[in-house]
């Protein structure tokens, strides 16, 4: 008895697992074997049997294995597993994400769990600081972030700067000045560095402390008014702090008794970072007047700020050339970031940029600087994203360069290369370039440049390109391999897939596509449902397919009627209802079709002639003259011109009893006597 119970529950779980990604299972069964034994089909059959009768034990048939089965199974584990989700998720059907939004939610909740643990560790470091591991692992010890040195001294100031406490260090600096003790140039410079980096806002830790302080304050009106304002300010801070007039950094800069090149450079970089480019330019002219030399990072920042300083394209390029000449005069060596900044500015320079960018690349190679992925990304942007698209072969050359080696991250913009390149391939509608791009992404470390969002965007674009350009079996093969491990299809991708299936006349795959749509949680998207229904009902199909389509239609009907917890029920549209009726009729389900017909009045729509003809056909096949009469009554109540035709068809094709014939006659008299303008009520 125990074994039977155990057998029952585990078979149910097996059937749950096999329901996932039906498209894969279906096509695997049809074509080449993923399983190497002989009895895969019987396995599915026994699952269904045991679901029906729980008390029987159905013994599966003995499996015979291929000679190479073990080796083949091992070989299939070596490459990427196409059915698994990303490594960060647990390998369990309940815990695997269904679509993009879900995967983001789950990864964020895991991350928030981690930060909750880190908060506990920070609050109670006394429980975590015993060193039981040998050698000591510093990253697993609690961090000591409270300043040790008390008192007003320069060493204390240095410590607070080191611990990134912006407000505390500014206060301490002011105290030191008031006390009259001078602060060395170096320390002042490092204070300026801190202020310019954080933009006079607070660093992340202090923000956390402030938030905690907000929560602990008693419930007063003032605190309640303050906290929403503070949150608003914080959102501004995170999005890009604005350099306020005469803030701490400027103030300290002004009261410095002596300044060296480093101070000017820091100020310039801070101003550019936090959105005050004009001031940065003024500061730069001050620096030149004082006959100091700027360093390479300052020049990079200034070049990046050029589009905000000048409006006209030619002027921008002239200013960039100016800066580069100054670099030469001051004997500052440019690096790859300099050239990337130049190209980034050239992106905003239109036609001038296009002409000049290639010579920039030549300059780079002359100086022996290896381009990074960001360089190529800027080039692609310059040549492929503008409105007047001139065909150019530069993308092929770029791909050649990228294929050769594996890149290391050098510039924050590196990560955008692959999505931009794939977008360019899509715009050019070139599938071979896309394949080459894929290959170069898999080489070496290049895959690390794609995080989850960019991965999704990249593969979605690739999939739409595939659907447009390739044969249907290639599309389906890629679909099987890419979902759900590499990307979760969006509604757009589903539309593309349906279009491809339509173009290849492969519409019998639609029921498994519908299963996947339900899995992804798109079963309430009105436009997707309409598309599905219209594709299914457009033509006649063989018997099996028709039955499968009718089942899909029933699912869609259930989706419409079920109203979720907070959602309003989906509205039926006339065309959708019509399609559902047609699908039911073609499968011979007269009663269901009639139920749907009755919905038409509820939504104030009129069924088309095709719909009514199909319904009549179905009624004839299943021999239900009552339904036919009801249909004629319905048509009469709508006041449709086709009522007469329907009536005559009913009389000719059906064998009617006396009562039915009388009923039919009475309808005629109703429709004859009513005015053509007025609506007639149902009787």
């Amino acid at each position: 008895m125990a074994a039977r119970r155990l057998g029952g529950s585990s078979w149910q779980q097996m059937s749950l697992l096999s329901r996932r990604w039906c498209l894969q299972a279906g096509s695997a069964g049809k074509r080449e074997q993923n399983r190497y034994s002989s009895s895969s089909t019987t396995l599915e059959k026994t699952v269904e049997n045991s679901e029906v009768t729980r008390e029987e034990i159905v013994l599966p048939r003995r499996k015979t294995w291929d000679k190479l089965a073990v080796l083949q199974a091992l070989a299939s584990t070596v490459n990427r597993d196409p059915t698994a989700a990303h490594y960060m998720f647990q390998d369990d059907p309940f815990l695997m994400p269904r679509n993009t939004a879900n995967s983001r939610l789950l990864s964020l909740s895991k991350e928030s769990g981690r930060s909750a643990a880190k908060y506990i560790i920070k609050e109670f470091p006394q429980y975590f600081d015993k060193t039981t591991s040998e050698p000591n692992i510093p990253c697993l010890m609690p961090e000591n972030l409270t300043p040790q040195i008390e008192g007003v001294s320069e060493a204390a100031l240095k410590e607070r700067i080191h611990l990134r406490r912006v407000k505390a260090s500014v206060d301490l600096f002011d105290q030191l000045l008031q006390a009259g003790s001078p602060v060395s140039l170096e320390t002042t410079n490092s204070l300026l560095d801190l202020l310019c980096f954080y933009g006079d806002g607070e660093s992340a830790q202090e923000k956390q402390n402030e938030q905690k302080g907000d929560l602990e304050e008693p419930e007063e009106n003032t605190s309640e008014q303050r906290s929403p304002k503070r949150q608003f300010q914080k959102s501004l801070n995170s999005s890009g702090f604005r350099w306020r007039e005469n803030n701490n950094a400027e103030r300290i800069f002004k009261i410095m008794p002596e300044r060296n090149a480093h101070s000017y450079c820091t100020m310039i970089r801070g101003m550019v970072k936090h959105g005050a480019p004009a001031k940065a330019y003024d500061m730069y002219t001050d620096l030149l007047n004082e006959r100091h030399k700027a360093d390479v990072h300052t020049f990079n920042a200034l070049i990046r700020a050029v589009p905000y300083l000048k409006e006209k394209f030619a002027e921008r390029w002239a200013l960039v050339k100016d800066f580069l000449n100054h670099m030469v005069q001051q004997e500052v060596q440019p690096n790859v970031l300099t050239f990337n900044a130049v190209l980034k500015t050239l992106r905003r320079c239109g036609g001038v940029g296009r002409g000049v960018s290639l010579s920039v690349i030549q300059e780079m190679t002359a100086l022996d600087i290896e381009p990074s992925l960001a360089t190529y990304e800027h080039l692609l942007h310059i040549f492929y994203r503008s409105v007047e698209l001139q065909p150019s072969t530069i993308i092929a050359e770029i791909l050649e360069e990228v294929e050769k080696r594996s890149f290391t991250p050098q510039d924050p913009d590196d990560a955008n290369f692959f999505p931009t390149a794939m977008q360019a391939c899509c715009d050019l509608k070139d599938i071979k370039l896309a394949y080459r791009l894929n290959k170069s992404m898999e080489k070496g470390d290049n895959w690390k440049f794609l995080d989850m969002d960019r991965l999704n965007a990249y593969w979605s674009k690739f999939f739409s390109l595939l659907c447009m350009m390739e044969q249907i079996d290639v599309v389906l093969k890629w679909y099987k391999e890419m979902t759900p491990s590499l990307f979760y299809p969006s509604t757009r991708s589903m539309f593309d897939l349906l279009q491809a299936l339509d173009a290849a006349n492969h519409l019998e795959v639609i029921p498994s596509v519908w299963e996947d749509i339900k899995q992804l949680g798109f079963s309430r998207k009105q436009d997707l449902l309409e598309e599905l229904l219209s594709l299914m009902s457009r033509e006649e199909h063989p018997e099996e397919t028709q039955l499968a389509f009718a089942k899909c239609a029933e699912d869609i009907k259930a989706a419409h009627e079920q109203s979720g917890r907070d959602q309003a029920p989906l509205e039926w549209t006339g065309s959708a209802l019509g399609h559902v009726v047609v699908l039911f009729s073609r499968a011979g389900r007269t009663q269901d079709a009639w139920n749907m017909m009755e919905h038409f009045q509820q939504i104030n729509r009129i069924p088309t002639d095709q719909v009514m003809d199909e319904f009549l056909n179905c009624a004839k096949q299943t021999n239900c003259p009552d339904e036919a009469i009801k249909l004629v009554k319905l048509a009469a109540s709508f006041g449709l011109p086709s009522t007469l035709k329907l009536k005559s068809r009913t009389e000719q094709e059906f064998e009617l009893s006396e009562k039915q014939k009388n009923a039919l006659e009475s309808i005629q008299s109703d429709s004859d006597s009513s005015d053509s303008d007025s609506d007639s009520d149902r009787d």
Binding site: D92, K110, R114, T131, M141
Partner: protein
């Protein structure tokens, strides 16, 4: 729950006892039977669920007595501390007790079975079977939290591998 204490009954106890033992003794003088008692160590009741009326659901783990370990059951905690020449068995046991209590409290009402702990070199792998009564995002929150906290506490990488079941898997009813 022994009727006798955990010491040998010596003949020099209360006179009542002595006389009772004397009365059962064979008539030979000086020879008397002592009562031999053992420390209380109910090996016959350890880790066994007693048979009841047939309405008590019991998992596979609970249904099998300890003498079935290595025959029908596996171990719940796997480490090398008990091998010849290896040290640290007691520390591992204390860690296990803490981990089980911690996980029992962190996943309230969700654990479907005992936690399995596997130690491989420095890594501690905790295998849980969890019921599906929490939302997946909440479960991931607890998983991230436990992994980080336990890593910092024990100074070794800790990984949680979670499997979910809809209800507790009942083996039989006792």
């Amino acid at each position: 729950m022994g009727r006798f204490g955990d010491s040998r009954v010596s003949p020099s106890l209360s006179p009542q006892v002595v006389s009772w033992s004397r009365s059962c003794a064979p008539p030979a003088l000086g020879a008397h039977r002592d009562l031999h008692t053992t420390p209380v160590c109910f090996k016959t009741r350890a880790a066994r669920v007693r048979v009841g009326k047939g309405d008590k659901p019991v998992t596979y783990e609970q249904a099998h007595a300890p003498h079935y370990i290595a025959h029908r059951k596996g171990w719940l905690s796997l480490h090398t501390g008990n091998l010849d020449g290896e040290a640290g068995a007691a520390e591992r046991t204390v860690e296990d007790v803490f981990l089980r209590k911690f996980l029992y409290g962190t996943f309230p009402g969700c654990l479907a079975n005992e936690v399995v702990l596997k130690r491989r070199a420095n890594l501690l792998v905790i295998c849980l079977v969890v019921l599906q009564n929490l939302a997946p995002s909440k479960l991931y929150f607890l998983i991230g939290y436990s992994e980080t906290l336990l890593s910092h506490f024990y100074k070794c990488p800790v990984r949680l591998e979670v499997q979910t079941v809809p209800t507790k898997v009942i083996y039989k009813y006792l």
